[in-house]
Amino acid sequence: MTPRPDVVVTGLGAFSPIGADAPTTWEAALAGTSGARTLDNDWSEKYGIPVTFAATVVGDVNERLARPEIKRMDPSAQYAVIAAREAWADAGSPEVDPVRLGAVVSSGIGGIHTTLDGWDVLRERGARRVLPTTVPMLMPNSPSAYVSLDLGAQAGAHALVSACASGAEAIGYAVDMIRAGRADVVVAGGTEAVIHPMPVAAFAASRTLSLRNDDPAHASRPYDVDRDGFVIGEGSAVLVLESAEHAAARGARVYAKLAGVGLSADGYHITSPEPTGKGQIRAMEMALADAGASVRDVVHVNAHATSTMVGDMIEARAIRHLFASEADHVALSATKSMTGHLLGGAGALETLFTVRAVADRVAPPTINVENPEPDLEVPLVRDTPAQLPDGDVAALNNSFGFGGHNVALIVTNA
């Protein structure tokens, strides 16, 4: 039996609330930039929506896509295609047999702008006015399908859905595709576009959003004692994953290795994480074992940490429990403090950050933590980036989703 292929990251792309491409997004993260801003609309007056801000993408899709592309894709797919094209170019536009190229791009929610706009058209103007493009735009596999179409990827196009863990699960599945020998190169990531009054109202109804309307830039504050919920965000991040052999054969620049994937489900509650974090711990343990790494190797954790009162500390305690005293040398970052919560895009964007952190040996900051939780027993990178050690290192990215989905990814140096 041939040994399991190593999977490396050779391309990065992003379209996010803090940058219209991956390098800008990373630099903005290192600089501690908030992507949360007041929304320029009347949703509060018109519908009584209690949240008036979000982390919206900073780029203009009109500058990145042709007009017919914009009309044919829901914003969730538009963001994914923009990020995928950047990642592909960043990887050097590899020559790869189309049947050995895959696409795995997830959205947690799907094409909800299209769904709701189509419903508005139907109610107001009747069935003859509903566009024939509605179904291919609203289906949740649309971003994956469009990325596959764009690149001619024929090894498989997949869209795993696990709420806010979707982007990380997509990357995990892409790793599996390469390891299983189904593909040499897989373009993988996550996307979301939910800044529409209905989903914003619905998230607000679930009492998970921050209501700090008077100060959006300081609303997302994971681990701060005064946190009051997450900041809803949008955007996409996409990575090019490749078998190490394929990357080496073409002399590709390698950022890092995607070394371990861990997955579990809480089987506990549809929205609340299991209080002891045992499901999260199992995912982290599985990812470490999959990478052949131990907690001693982990120098950096990009936490799921969304800035909710309950969730942040369940994860922090789970990390402390698993790492025990080894947690003392971990640089913990909660980048949602800057980007807001990209839902299905979050796990991918945070994997991108984790890859850059390992490649550049620097952990991004966690902003807005004025008074850290007193029982946070993992060293938090606050305000300014922290240098990571030289030598062989591992970093962990956690992503959890409504439904009890837990995904842990281990990134190691190339």
């Binding site: 042709a66 007009r67 017919p68 009309k71 103007r125 003859r128 006015r129 024939p132 493009t133 291919p136």
Partner: protein, 82 residues
């Protein structure tokens, strides 16, 4: 209020250009939707939906297949009004 044939051509050209990415100037009467403007069936049905809305006409599916050129569509829409 009925549109003239020229007005229908201008309006249809805007719709087709928006859908296809071709310049409106390429949407001439002689142009074939499939061969010259690269319009697939999904795009054609989208154009029909927009055209029905813009010109306040009904273009049944069985008639759409007979509209091979822009001129065919312009004539059909012009005639179908009011």
């Amino acid at each position: 209020m009925a549109y003239t044939s020229e007005e229908v051509l201008t309006g249809l050209a805007e719709i087709v250009a928006e859908e296809s990415g071709q310049p409106a100037s390429a949407v001439v009467r002689e142009a074939s939707f499939t061969d010259d403007l690269d319009i697939d069936s999904l795009s054609m049905m989208t154009i029909v939906t927009h055209a029905e809305d813009k010109f306040d006409v009904r273009i049944p599916d069985e008639d759409v297949k007979n509209l091979s050129t822009v001129g065919d569509a312009v004539d059909y829409i012009t005639k179908a009004q009011g």
